[in-house]
Amino acid sequence: MITTCLAEAISDVPTISAIGTRAILFEAPGEFSMAQQRRIWALMQACEARADIAELVPGVTNLLLVFHEAPAQPEAIIAWLTELWPDLPELEVEGRLFEIAVRYGGPLGEDLHRVAEHAGLSPKEVIERHQASEFTVCTIGSAPGFAYLHGLDPSIAMPRKTVPSLQMQAGTVIIGGPQAGISAITGPNGWNSIGYADVALFDPARHSPALFQPADRIRFYAEGIEL
C-alpha cells in the first residue's frame, strides 16, 4: 500500500525545463487526460498572480511561462512550481457551448472517404460519430485562434497525412490523430479534412479576437452532406 502511494507520488512529478533564459516549460506527467489539463489551467491561474510573468502559453498538459526579464534565480521558480503542483485541484471552468454547422464531404472535406476507410465505417457513420461527441477546447495555439479539440470518438481517429494539403481553406473541419479541430488559416495542413464550417476562428478587429477559449465546448451538426 505504502509503495503504491509512493509510486503514485513519484509518477506525479512534473518535468520542468529551461527554454532559453527567459522561459520555463512545465510539463505534467503521465498520459493525457482532461483532469490533468484542468490542473494545468489551475496552475495557469496560480501563475497569473506573479508580476514577473509576461506570457502564459498553455499547451496540451503543459504550460510555458515567459518572463518579462530573465529570472535571476530560475531554481527558485522551479522549486515554487514543484511545490505547487501536487496540491493543485482540477480547475472547473464552465466553458461556453458553441454549435457549429458543417458541410460534410465535398471538395473541402476531401479526406472523409479515407477517414471512413481507415475506420472501417461508412462516411455517414463517420459523420454521425463526429456529431455525437461534445468536444472540449484543450488549448489554443499553432495558428491565430486554432483550437485543439479533445473528445473525438477514438473509432474515427486518423493519423496526420504524410504529405500535407498545400492550400487547405480556413474553416476546414479536420481530424489529426486523436484530436479534432477547425483550421484557422488557409495554408498547408497535414490534418484530414472531413467538411467545412463557415466560421472565422480569429479576427483581429473583434473585441475578443479568438472565437474559442480553453474549456469551451463545441458540438458539430450537419448543414449539408456531399458524398
Partner: protein
Amino acid sequence: MITVLETGPLNTVQDLGRFGLRNMGVGSSGMMDMLALQVANILMDNEDGAAGIEIQTYPCVLRFDVDTRFVVTGADVGLSLDGVMVLPWVVAQVQAGQVLRIERPTVSARACLAVAEGINVPVVLGSRATQLRGGFGGLAGRVLQTGDMLPIAPSDGPAGFGAVPPLRVLAAPGETRPKSVTVRAIPATDHDHFTASSREHFWGRPWRITPQADRIGYRLRGEPLRLIEPKELRSYGIVPGIVQVPPAGEPIVQMADANTAGGYPRMACVIEADLWRLAQAPIGTDIYFQLCSHAQGVAADVEMRRYLNTLRSMVGYYRASAARQSGQRKHSA
C-alpha cells in the same frame, strides 16, 4: 509617405513584436534583428516600439515623399541616395522626391530601415509588426509590393552621426571562422534524451543553414541527431530561438514568425542576446552552437543592454550639442 518603387518578395513592416497573445496562437513576429531596430530607433530619437522596414530581399528601392531623416542598420548593405553613396548605421537627411536604393549585403542578411517617428501603419493588437500567418498588422498584413505607400512624418532634426555596429562592440562568442557564426544556447527539455554522440555532435560540429530558412525558422543540415528512444510529445508553447529536432534528425531553429506551438523534441534554445547574430546569417552559413549557462545568457543580455544604453546617452549628448549650435547660428544670423 514612402513609395516602394522596387522590392524583393519578402520585405515587411516590423517593430519589436506583438506580445501577450501567444495563448491565442499569435506569435510575436517583429524584426528578426531586434538589435538593429533598437539601435536605429535610438539614433532617430524614436520611441522604442517605432516600426521600421525589414529588408531581406534586394534590391529595394524607395522614394521619400517628404523631407525627413532615415537610417539603415543591420546588414552591411550598399546604399545610395539619388545615386550618391550613403553609409549604413549613419543618420541621413533626405528631401522629398529623393530615391534610396538598398543593395544586397555581402556578408550579412537583413537590413532595417528606420525613419523619424517610425512607419506609421495602424497598430493592430498592440503592435505594427506584420503577422504574415494571421494576415494582419504591418501594411495590410502582407509583404511589401511595388507601388505601396507607407505613411511617415516630416522631420528636420540632426543628421550625419551614427552608431558603431554591434558586431564591432559586442564580443563574438567562439572563434571567428569564415562564413560561420557561433551562437550561445542553453540545453532544453529533451537534451539528455539524445544519444551521447548526438549531443557531442550538436555542440561540436557546424550546422549549415539550408535554403529552407526564413522568418519562421531555419532548417539546418548536418549529421542527423538521434534520440536514445523515440518520444511522442504533446503540443507545447515555443519561443524564437528554440532548436527542435524532427524525426529525420536535422534541427530547426525557430525564428521571429515561429508558430506558438510545437511538437518536436527540444535540444536547446539560442539565448535572446544572440538571436540577432542568427538573423544576420545568410543561407549557407555554418552555425556553431556554444553551450551556455543561464548566468552566461543573462550576462550576455546585460552586455547588450549596456551597448544600447551607452549609445542612447551618446546620441543624447550629440543631439543636445547640435541643438545648441543650430540655436547659436540662428542667433548670429
